[in-house]
């Protein structure tokens, strides 16, 4: 194990190097670009023995990833924002074809207007595709989550592609001290992948990606639902196994000082660091504020969230995305599945800064609500 001061993008690339994918089809896009650059350099230097495909678009990156994964090898790709939008059709195909691809998404706003800064609209817009989505808070979690993502995706009870979402610039371009595990430990945790369903073998010919008519389509979709349910336990087990090897544990959620909280802040990604700081500030003043960090957004961990929020009087959900007219996606999921008094706050779209004062405002508006959904930090309201 060595410790390096690196960006989350470099942490992702280090994790990919350790996971040793056979094929890496990737296309550059801000703020993901340095991931594709690091990986290209590793290949150029012979540090990894991967087939790197310099595809001509993100659409082709994911298409090539499916082709390679369909042939039974481990695959990695990465993208962001418009790139993920261009992939969209193929994002669904990857889940339907049950290929355990791992994709890192450097979360960035969606055009128009064009904007390279952070929010979650890109990955949230892929919510219903059938991918597992993990949102990370820092470089260490980015690195660790890539390794875990393979273990989760390749589990036979799951076999779903997995997206590791890291906030553009806040994480992708910010350096933090990060532990790089050694290869022996990673090999122990994540052995070489042998796709049990290696479809494209001339000795055992199989057809992959066929037409399914109304007699069959619905069952195949239902199997995705069941596998998504299975992934709840798999993510927890992988988190425990990861801890036994590396000493760090991640679950579906992280409940921070929620037990007796009057107001719990619910959020995903790097903002949780600011929120944890704010919770501590309030706690010092004697105010009972808590934080619920959602790490696994799909599968949506309903039971775990219910348990974490069972004593919460009120909940403020911070969404870096918007479904126009009904608020953020996380807020809507909480409203749909969790029996708690919840208020929605739209924050940080297109990289709009969000600071502890804004969070204080959110807490006040949750204690004394005037409306269910509030946009935070607008120049005029």
């Amino acid at each position: 194990m060595v410790k390096k001061v690196i960006t989350s993008n470099e942490a992702v690339a280090e994790a990919v190097k350790l996971a040793k994918p056979d094929v890496i089809p990737v296309y550059p896009i801000t703020p993901q670009t340095t991931i594709s650059e690091y990986l290209a350099q590793y290949v150029a230097d012979g540090d990894i023995d991967s087939e790197y495909i310099r595809v001509e678009s993100e659409h082709s990156a994911l298409s090539a990833a499916i082709g390679a994964s369909g042939a039974g090898v481990r695959v990695f790709t990465a993208t962001s924002s418009q790139g993920l939008m261009l992939m969209h059709e193929i994002v669904f195909a990857a889940a339907g074809m049950r290929v355990p691809i791992v994709l890192a998404d450097a979360n960035r706003a969606i055009s128009a207007p064009i904007n390279i800064w952070n929010d979650h609209q890109d990955s949230i817009s892929q919510r219903d595709a059938g991918w597992i989505q993990l949102y990370v808070e820092n470089a260490q979690e980015a690195l660790d989550s890539i390794l875990q993502a393979y273990k989760i995706a390749e589990n036979e009870e799951v076999l779903l592609p997995t997206m590791v979402c890291l906030d553009g610039f806040y994480l992708t371009h910010t350096v933090e001290p990060t532990e790089i595990p050694n290869q022996e430990q990673v090999d122990q945790f994540l052995p070489k992948y042998h796709g049990k369903y290696s479809f494209l073998d001339p000795k055992q010919p199989t057809s992959l990606g066929t037409l399914a008519d109304p007699q069959y389509y619905m069952e195949i979709r239902y199997q995705i639902e069941k596998s998504m349910e299975n992934s709840i336990d798999v993510i927890k087990e992988v988190g425990k196994e990861f801890k036994s090897v590396f000493g760090r544990e991640y679950g579906l959620i992280e409940a921070y000082k929620c037990e007796n909280a009057d107001v719990v802040l619910v959020a995903m990604g790097s903002i949780c660091t600011t929120l944890r700081y704010t919770v501590d500030q309030y706690r010092e003043k004697g105010e009972k504020i808590g934080l619920l960090k959602i790490r696994a957004y799909r599968p949506f961990p309903v039971d775990e969230i219910n348990e974490a929020l069972k004593n919460a009087k009120k909940v403020a959900v911070l969404d870096k995305n918007i479904s126009f007219g009904v608020g953020g996606a996380v807020y809507n999921d909480i409203k749909a599945k969790i029996d708690v008094e919840a208020y929605g706050f739209i924050v940080g779209l297109g990289g709009r800064d969000i600071n502890p004062e804004d969070i204080g405002d959110i807490i006040e508006k949750t204690k004394n609500p005037v409306k269910d959904i509030t946009w935070v930090g607008l120049k005029e309201e």
Binding site: D22, V23, P25, S50, E51, I53, R54, V55, E56, S57, H59, S60, A61, S63, A64, A65, I66, G67, A68, S69, G70, A71, G72, V73, V75, E89, I90, A93, M97, F199, L200, D201, P202, Q204, P205, T206, S207, L208, G209, T210, L211, A212, D213, Y216
Partner: protein
Amino acid sequence: MKIPEEELLAPGHRGCAGCGATIGVRLALKALGRNTVAISATGCLEVITTPFPETAWEIPWIHVAFENAGAVASGVERAMKAKGMEDTNIVAFGGDGGTADIGFQSLSGAMERGHNLIYICYDNEAYMNTGIQRSGSTPYGASTTTSPVGKKSFGEDKPKKNLPLIMAAHGIPYVATASISYPEDFMRKVKKASEIDGASYIHLNQPCTTGWGYESSKTIELGRLAVETGTWMLYEVVNGEFKLTYKPQVKRPVKEYLSAQKRFKHLNDEEVETIQEYVNQQCKAVGI
């Protein structure tokens, strides 16, 4: 040439009687043999051969979407390399829509990167799977459901996009045109493509009974007429060197080819003459 009896595309698929596309795939797979992985773009071929839980493919086969056969094939090729199975033939099949139009970028990328694979465009000159809509490969004068003949229209008003020469411009080692009606010529080209290290592109003309409007027993005859009139030419471009592989002894009038098909039935003598002149010019340029 001895044509293997073994069929790697099984009978019983849902193709129309007289389907030219499946004749082309059967011939290509006879040339390539069992050690082959096939990739399909969405289209007639994919729909008629793989209604779950059945499949007509006796070799491994993958389909993802309409516009990405080139990219999917790229991923398959690199995965086979990573698995130490470089000797496996990788062949992608796309219709003219999936190749000349929506799949053009993906194909261009795959060719330009030089993957060791064969891309075969089965060209029936329109979007047949969705019911005969005009593609970039639809020829001048053809009536389709989106370039219909009408009071102010004689049908498609542009000549077909020249895909094989565009592919040759990518600098790939092997480009060829072929016809299902000249099976030995086509199979020899597929075999040659499989022996070349790098990207190969074969543009296969295949008459479509439904889309072109002729009796289902006449598919091979129509393919022959296309070549014997000079409307379709058989050639290869090997490492940039252009060579005709078949030259009609006597070039038959284009009218014979056009009048055999419903899609051209509406053309008047003047329009037929325009097409004849265009064909003459194209043929002259290559020595036919």
